[in-house]
């Protein structure tokens, strides 16, 4: 057997269930004799396939049809099996999202044919993912991503770890696209905001809630209702903010700034950080209860320096809609020998520059300055995320700088147990810079640190 699958068989006929048990030996099987049990099992677990008998007893004619949309929304390959092949019913089943159909009576051959079709389509769609959506030939990375996609339709929170530029946001979006969720994928980079701004971004606000709140604005939580909320750089969120968000996640209720009216939203959480998450928890920069709530499944993305097989496929991928780049064997060696500290983002940038200005076969001499500067610039770019850059464009450099300073000061204060002297020393700043920042962040500067 090629792969052990998780299969749900929905049939009210005990003999039919026994027949299916025989034909699906070796797979992980689950049975439901009626619609209510089937709905509960479909909601509760991620099956790969679901065989659905259309008629579930005299009192439930064609009740199996009602199960198809739920199975489809969860990305489950649903197979309708019926005692008759009435065209309108079969057409309706396909219209609702059923993927395969057979008439009962020849299970010996039909079930195996269904499994072969499922495995073949599944393999093809997985291959396409690694060619079009998340480019990797690294087996370990492919396995991690397949594991994440297996849990995509569930409520399980996912934490993605990995250095900057390894594709954490791309993976989060891919998981959302495979989740069957009808809502939006909403992303927020927590490091781009101080506490007040982050609260306003997450929870939204009412007109007049604070200076500059000229109109009501929906928060990311509400925008993510029915979908996925991706929290990037969770390590930079203050513990106070984590506590507020945790409450909103658990109760699915929150209050926009300046409002007494609660809003409700249900969403799946995917979070990411490039930092060492254990250290964040130990230093209490990440609240343990919040960490527990967001790390159901942890996926680690390796840096490109540890998956060098991906370098050339990534170069081809980013180059596919541009003038074709041809590298000499020595240049290929140089590309493979480079550590790519900026990871996938760095490769994209190098391809952009090369395809815009290089002609003929590319030699290592043409790459040298790019790879060198890429290294230096990546270090500088690590300080600036796309979200921070967009924030600076929207609010001006001064406000962006202040937000950046405030985030660093808040974090250092937390790491130093709110001891101001230690924070001043750690960040090598003057007391005035510290107090200005604390004032902006709304901290009570009269209160002495314990």
């Amino acid at each position: 057997m090629e792969q052990k699958l998780s299969v749900l068989v929905v049939d009210d006929d005990p003999l039919a269930r026994k027949v299916m048990e025989n034909h699906l030996q070796g797979h992980q099987l689950d049975f439901a004799p009626d619609k209510a049990t089937a709905l509960s099992k479909l909601k509760g677990k991620n099956h790969d396939l679901c065989f659905i008998d259309l008629d579930l007893g005299k009192s439930q004619p064609l009740a199996g049809l009602d199960l198809i949309p739920l199975a489809a929304s969860k990305g489950i390959y649903s197979v309708v099996m019926s005692g008759h092949d009435s065209d309108p019913v079969v057409e309706k089943a396909y219209a609702l999202g059923c993927r395969d159909f057979y008439v009962k009576g020849h299970e010996g051959s039909d079930v195996q044919a269904v499994l072969s079709r499922f495995l073949s389509r599944n393999r093809m769609s997985r291959e396409r993912i690694f060619q079009d959506r998340f480019i990797t030939e690294d087996k370990e990375t492919q396995k991690s991503i397949e594991n994440a996609l297996h849990y995509a339709p569930s409520e399980l929170p996912i934490l993605i770890l990995g250095p900057s530029g390894t594709g954490k946001t791309d993976l989060a979006r891919l998981i959302h696209d495979h989740s069957g969720r009808l809502g939006e994928f909403i992303s927020i980079n927590c490091s781009a905001y101080n506490d007040e701004l982050l609260e306003a971004e997450l929870f939204g606000f009412r007109k007049g809630a604070f200076t500059g709140a000229d109109e009501d604005r929906k928060g990311k939580l509400l925008l993510a209702d029915g979908g996925t909320l991706f929290l990037d750089e969770i390590g930079s969120m203050s513990p106070a903010m984590q506590a507020k968000l945790l409450k909103a996640i658990e109760e699915r209720v929150f209050y926009p700034l300046g409002s007494d009216e609660p809003e409700r939203a249900s969403f799946r959480i995917i979070s990411a950080t490039l930092e060492n998450v254990q250290e964040l928890v130990e230093s209490k920069a990440l609240r343990f209860d919040f960490f527990q709530r967001v790390h159901g499944l942890t996926i680690r993305l390796k840096p490109l320096s540890q998956r060098k097989d991906d370098i050339l496929p990534l170069l081809s991928f980013f180059n596919r809609e541009k003038r074709r780049l041809v590298f000499s064997p020595r240049a290929r060696e140089a590309l493979l020998g480079h550590d790519w500290p900026g990871n996938v983002r760095e490769i994209r940038r190098v391809v952009d520059i090369l395809s815009a200005g290089t002609k003929g076969i590319i030699e290592p001499e043409a790459l040298q300055p790019l790879l060198k500067s890429a290294h230096g610039e990546t270090k500088a770019r690590d300080f600036t995320t796309d979200a921070q850059y967009r924030f600076a464009l929207g609010h001006g450099l001064n406000q962006a700088l202040n937000s950046f300073i405030d985030s660093l000061v808040q974090r250092s204060l937390i790491e130093n147990g709110n001891r101001r002297n230690k924070t001043v020393k750690a960040l090598q700043i003057s007391t005035r810079v510290l107090y200005d920042s604390m004032k902006r962040s709304g901290a009570n500067i009269r209160k002495r640190a314990p």
Partner: protein
Amino acid sequence: MNPSPSPNLDTLIHAVNSKCASLKSAAALLKNAPSKEAQELLGLMLEQVRALAREIEGFVK
């Protein structure tokens, strides 16, 4: 007896098709089934036949 076409007849026809399909599939399994498994299958097949007989009798009445 000459039953006229009715929703009940459709239900009966569907039940006969469906239950016979399961019987046919179960019969195909009997040949290679270990004896304990075969016993279980035969028991379920018997129940299936009785249920089918009851449905036909119900319709005739």
